[in-house]
Symmetry: C2
Subunit: 235 residues, 2 copies
């Protein structure tokens, strides 16, 4: 990876990387939120477009495809909110790290003072007092660093567990929607009509509506694998 290590203490580099990561994750979320908004527009406009063709079959199917697209948008919206939750968990790490900084600063200050006195007044009684202070401050630092290590590991894990669970749910629901979208397309009879042939009156509206109903039902029944397994366990 590309972190430039100069004579900069690792903590500055860490604060900088924290800030960059959290900011960029926000950019990801914003991009998905834009996609959501635009997909909702596509859903409505697809319906308008279909109606404007004056072809009853195209009008009905495109209207219902619009419903499917709107459902996709809802899932992406939920996904973006899960990314936000995941990002918030990482912010905990940054907060703890900011809390540890004063400890580190205090330790550095005591070390500096000891070094300075050893150089200028090596007999000063203050050195003994400072050395005792250093022992206490180092103990505090060890606790703080252990806390930071523990928080970092557990929050990194928690953040990405949220992230991957959201990916999974979004994917499984997308598969359901795509399946019913394809069933709608099967109702679109694209057999060629000849000039002047009145295409047979469109009679697929009921079947198309039923497809949407079944889609909604299957989405409503969806549950994460862990819940499915505990359902089976309790049967």
């Amino acid at each position: 990876s590309g972190a430039v290590e100069e004579a900069v203490p690792v903590r500055d580099s860490r604060a900088a990387t924290d800030a960059r990561l959290i900011k960029t994750e926000n950019n990801v979320i914003s991009a998905y939120e834009t996609a959501v908004k635009e997909r909702h527009s596509v859903a409505a406009q697809l319906s308008d477009w279909g109606e404007a063709t004056g072809d009853d079959m195209v009008s009905d199917i495109s209207d219902k495809l619009g419903v499917i697209i709107a459902e996709f948008a809802e899932i992406e919206d939920w996904f973006a909110s899960q990314l936000e939750d995941s990002r918030s968990v990482l912010k905990h790490i940054r907060n703890i790290e900011q809390g540890v900084q004063p400890c580190r600063d205090q330790k550095a200050k005591v070390i500096d003072r000891i070094a300075h006195l050893r150089h200028s007044k090596p007999e000063a009684p203050e050195i003994v007092r400072l050395e005792q202070e250093l022992v206490r401050v180092e103990a505090q630092n060890l606790v703080a660093e252990a806390q930071l290590t523990n928080i970092t590991r557990s929050k990194l894990k928690e953040s990405y567990q949220l992230h991957f669970a959201a990916v999974q749910e979004r994917a499984e629901k997308s598969i359901i929607l795509a399946k019913y979208g394809c069933k709608l397309l099967d109702l679109l009879d694209d057999a060629q009509i000849g000039p002047g042939e009145m295409s047979q009156g469109y009679e697929g509206e009921g079947a198309a509506r039923q497809t949407l109903v079944e889609c909604e039902n299957e989405l409503a029944r969806w549950k994460p694998e862990s819940e499915q397994m505990s359902d089976e366990g309790s049967l």
Copy 2:
């Protein structure tokens, strides 16, 4: 749906709805392309951040999580390109519709001239000639309208078949990545360490690397259901 029908011929409304739909779909694609770019940044920055913690376990796991995130970005990039292909198919419809417009205009013009002459010079021999022209022009229009109907239905179907196939592939590959992402997280030992405890030397690098290798292999083996079924058929 919300198309306003005034004294505007349906063809104007259709051209307007075509244009809006195609434009908005472009906005969707741009939003996903932005998400791709930002997710690639997150992947790199996650790795940098992990290295900056100075914790070998966190550094290794976050680096490998970064690889997973970069793979997600690749899938989204591919998905955006499929949306672009799907959108291009719809543009065919608009092109055909634009080609039909001259026919419609010509028919309207002949009808207007006949009406004008019937009002001003009802005995004009030109009326008979124009009526014959109208018959030919109407025949041409019937062919054009049938072509448009056929193209509209088949391209709508083709466009959304592409779209839903892309949704399906993106979803199935996302599930694979999330699964291996979770396996990486399982290697992240978040058992609490106490102050001053040297956390045991991190020895998970091999297991983590192997997890990524297995992930890459499973992604490479992925194929659409239709190909899987034909494989089984040929066994």
